[in-house]
């Protein structure tokens, strides 16, 4: 086809279009909204992990001056439905999840009552006047005990096990029979707190005249939220408008349908006044979803050359007290990605999801895949340790090399070249020199570790058949009369820079300047349809939908140009804002002329409708599978146990790159969150079910001086799954980072006989290992 133009913007390092408003304070986040006559909502939360609610006396709060409304679970029971869980897990137990607890509270932070007052201070003061009488019950805290029996988080279920998911591939018994090497290990992915710097917030306004509810929310999924709120509140879907204004980070924690979103919508409807709720940081810690919290008991069979024979994995996922939107789905992604980058001849998995009296776990950056990659990449290093084969060689000997590659879990990896990424990594890091340096330092008694981890991630979520709520993405492209282009995309970014990257795609396709393109998102009345931004899908699925719409517009433009040039559409080429006859650039019309003709519509070719616009839905035929290899060098202070990441080198392959600056930024941030999990962060509930890491004083979100600089390089293996060839990059760093860092930690301690260390590798843990006090693999490491 003669329509290809040389990309000028795609692949270029373009400064972000969204930044001017963000660096000047001119952007509007949800809490910045100041709706006239608004009431302010505050929520009374349970101080107990598990307790029966004997009585609630809100009379004093209701009588307080400035208080507009106080509601309890019973008050809203008939007007707000139960919170949803989206899944395709057979036999999943789904206990009711009310927006405010009824009868029993099930985690510290569970909502008990809501107050609306004239100002936020009065609302908070009023909370203190609500008297709740509780009968404390024995909390369910330890996930293994919870799996084994009572007490039960949901008494009526008679079990804490919400689902079991057995999986088997290949001849697992044969893999272990006569295996020369068998390794057993428990691997813990400790609970994490996502910590978007912007706390969640919701504002709502109800127009009685039209029966219309408008909701502003810190959400990654405005369209899915629209549908769910319509169902929860019993309002027709066309009468619900969800707006995600500027959103201050999500990392999966805003990929949900939260109680407050329904509650604030309902209260605005009931009061006939706008209502706003903004979470405090304490509420964020207690009542915004957590991530990870998975136990894996492994048995690995391998040959003496380091090739894998098979793996048995018992996975125990701590679900928390209720299902949030995707709670039970997350560990199924772990299961899917257990083979990592490797040919695994046999695999047996027993996965159980277990309720405990804690906040729900759900999607946190990587969502099940960091857990899987941590397991398989630790396995590779343990096999290397056991066989004496270099960890690089063990990886090479087990890599999948033919694509599409079928995995032990039934996936078909789209494209890849794992050796090439590893080659580039070793070259960039100068692996040989590092090994020599390490040998030297060890002679001097210094503690230095080198860690490598490969990864494959499952991205571009995804084919609708494989997802619980649709995996497509939608785009409406409108070329306005003046030649301005409006893109209405269903992916609703919150830091990923799609206003810039989508403009780059449009600029190349239509030959218009970046400034002539507006990327609209996050308003369900303006953007007709969409799914949202998560699972590294914005480019691979949302960008692909845009590509389809662009192709429609280009086709139509060529028809109109051909008519004006008295030629066949097949002979018209699109080039830098002009359309001309192939081989005759002087016979041309400008894109603007075509746009004008499309709207004047007084001389269009037969069968061509007026206007120049297209709406397309893109349904991916498969997931995408980005990959790469990371290396890190860690020094551990022999006296204090303090680890320092001296170098972090990452080679990533996310297919075609639209904007390298933005891709690099995603890797930096992703690895940063892996540094956080590996060395610093661990959410801890004590035996009473109290979240003892419930503040920034107790939960170690890393600061700038805790973090390394990053050295990045890239290979490029496009995916055939979408027209852009882009795979997605948002979660890669988090998925690669944990095993990379922890392999370095273990490597540093390996002369002492240490084979595994639980995350986070705190100075105390490492100091104990160095002092021979225990192996560092503290069983309480979760």
């Amino acid at each position: 086809m003669a329509t290809t133009t040389v990309p000028k913007q795609i692949g270029a390092r373009v400064r972000r279009k969204e930044d001017p408003r963000l660096i000047t304070g001119a952007s509007t986040y949800t809490d910045d909204l100041n709706l006239p006559n608004a009431g302010y909502c505050a929520i009374l939360r349970s101080p107990h992990a598990r307790a029966r609610i004997l009585s609630i006396d809100a009379s004093a709060a209701r009588a307080m001056e400035g208080v507009l409304r106080v509601v309890t679970g019973r008050d809203v029971e008939s007007s707000i439905g139960g919170l949803p869980v989206a899944h395709k897990i057979e036999g999943l137990l789904e206990p009711p999840h009310r927006v405010l607890a009824i009868g029993e509270v099930r985690f510290v932070g569970d909502g008990v009552a809501a107050v609306v007052a004239e100002d936020p201070f009065t609302a908070r003061d009023a909370l203190e006047l609500i008297e709740v009488e509780y009968e404390e019950l024995e909390p369910v805290v330890d996930v293994e005990e919870a799996a084994a029996g009572g007490p039960f988080v949901h008494e009526e279920l008679g079990t804490n096990v919400a689902f079991t998911f057995p999986y088997e591939f290949g001849d697992i018994d044969a893999a272990f029979a006569d295996a020369p090497i068998v390794i057993r290990q428990r691997i813990v992915n400790q609970r994490q707190i996502p910590f978007a710097v912007e706390p969640r917030a919701v504002a709502a306004r109800f127009d009685r005249g039209h029966g219309k509810l408008e909701i502003w929310s810190t959400t990654q999924i405005p369209h899915l939220l629209r549908t769910q709120l319509a169902v929860l509140l019993g309002i027709p879907e066309h009468s619900v408008r969800v707006i995600a204004p500027e959103v201050g980070g999500g990392f999966g924690s805003k990929l949900n349908v939260y109680a407050e979103e329904a509650l604030v919508g309902h209260l605005a409807r009931e009061l006939g006044r706008p209502v706003k709720w903004t979470g405090t940081r304490t509420e964020e810690f207690q009542a915004t979803i957590h991530g990870r919290d998975q136990l894996a008991d492994l048995e690995v069979a391998a040959n003496e050359d380091g090739t894998l024979r098979g793996m048995r994995v018992e996975l125990l996922q701590d679900l928390g007290a209720y299902h949030q939107l995707l709670t039970p789905v997350i560990p199924t992604l772990t299961l899917l990605m257990l083979p990592g980058a490797y040919a695994l001849p046999a695999l047996q998995v027993g996965l159980r999801g277990v309720f405990t009296n804690k906040m729900s776990t759900d999607a946190y950056r990587g969502a099940g895949r960091p857990e899987a990659n941590f397991i398989i990449e630790r396995v590779i290093d343990m096999v290397a340790d056991e066989t004496g084969v270099d960890p690089v060689q063990v990886r090479r000997r087990n890599f999948l090399t033919e694509f599409p590659a079928e995995t032990a879990t039934g996936l078909a990896y789209d494209s890849g070249n794992y050796d090439a990424a590893l080659d580039l990594l070793l070259e960039t890091a100068d692996y040989e020199a590092l090994l020599a340096e390490q040998a030297e330092r060890r002679k001097r008694g210094e503690v230095m570790g080198i860690g490598i981890a490969a990864y494959v991630e499952i991205c571009g979520l995804g084919p609708s058949a494989a997802l619980p709520a649709g995996g497509w993405e939608a785009c409406t492209l409108e070329v306005r009369r003046t030649g301005q282009v409006v893109v209405k995309t269903g992916v609703s970014p919150h830091g990923q820079g799609e206003e810039t990257t989508f403009s780059q795609i449009v600029a190349d396709a239509l030959g218009v300047p970046l400034e002539a393109v507006e990327i609209a998102h996050g308003d369900t009345d303006y953007v007709p349809e969409g799914i949202g931004t998560f699972g590294s899908r914005a480019q691979a699925v949302g960008g692909a939908a845009l590509s389809l719409a662009l192709e429609d517009v280009r086709e139509k433009a060529r028809k109109i140009a051909a008519h004006k040039l008295e030629a066949d559409a097949e002979d018209v080429v699109f080039e830098e804002g002009h359309l001309h006859i192939v081989g005759a650039p002087e016979r041309s019309v400008s894109f603007q002329d075509v746009v004008t003709a499309a709207y004047l519509a007084d001389d269009l070719p037969e069968g061509v409708e007026p206007g120049l616009a297209s709406t397309r839905f893109f349904e991916p035929s498969n997931f995408t599978f980005p990959f790469g290899s990371h290396l890190c060098v860690i020094d551990i202070d022999g006296d204090t146990g303090e680890p320092t990441i001296r170098r972090y080198v990452a080679v990533d392959d996310c297919g075609n790159v639209i904007n390298p600056m933005i891709v690099d930024g995603q890797i930096h941030g992703g690895v940063g969150q892996a540094v956080a999990q590996s060395l610093y962060e661990r959410a801890v509930y004590d035996e009473e079910g109290q979240l003892v890491t419930g503040s920034l004083m107790d939960y170690a979100v890393p600061r700038a001086s805790y973090m390394p600089s990053y050295e990045l390089a890239r290979t490029t293996t496009p995916t055939p799954v979408n027209p852009l060839g882009a795979k997605g990059v948002g979660e890669a760093g988090t998925i690669a980072g944990n095993p990379c860092i922890m392999n370095a930690v273990v490597d540093a301690l390996s002369p002492l006989g240490v084979r595994h260390v639980d995350m986070p590798a705190t100075p105390e843990k490492l100091w104990r290992a160095l002092a021979g006090r225990d192996g560092g693999a503290s069983p309480s490491g979760r």
Partner: protein, 157 residues
């Protein structure tokens, strides 16, 4: 009970009657509509609310508005002081020192203090100087580069 304060914000002096328990950050956001200053933790640990008080970076969620009586406050909205952008704003843009942007105003104002203390900072000085401000998006890598770039630009100016 209210109390009178006189606070100069971004060059303009305002006389206000305020509740004595009103925090400076709420005064800026709710009374003056300067919502570029964000609230991330209400406990002075995340730094999203950083503003300049008489030229020094402070966390406006940990100060009462009455404590700013008679003081000069600069928020992100006033940093460029009539120009399009302050060199720090330019540098954060150029180096991709922000993603979601929520920590950015506080980070930029903390960086301004840092460059006043260390006009030619090392990487370690930059990282330590920003330790009062949390960012979850960037891994700090490009923030450090942005501050270094701004230092170069400001030393040339």
């Amino acid at each position: 009970m209210t109390t009178s304060v006189s606070i100069t914000v971004n060059g303009r002096t305002r006389h206000s009657e305020i509740d004595p328990r009103l925090l400076l950050v709420h005064y800026l956001r709710d009374r003056l509509g300067l919502t570029g200053t964000h609230v991330g933790c209400e406990t002075s640990l995340c730094g999203a609310c950083t503003v300049l008080l008489d030229g020094k970076a402070v966390k406006s969620c940990a100060l009462l508005a009455v404590q700013a009586d008679g003081a000069e406050i600069t928020t992100i909205e006033g940093l460029a002081d009539g120009a399009s952008y302050h060199p720090l704003q330019e540098a954060f843009w150029e180096e991709h020192g922000l993603q979601c942007g929520f920590c950015t105003p506080g980070m930029i104002l903390a960086a301004r203090q840092l460059l006043e203390d260390h006009p030619d900072p090392t990487e370690a000085e930059i990282r330590e100087g920003l330790d009062g401000n949390l960012c979850r998006c960037t891994g700090y890598h490009n923030i450090v580069r942005a501050v270094r770039r701004a230092a170069d630009a400001m030393s040339r100016a």
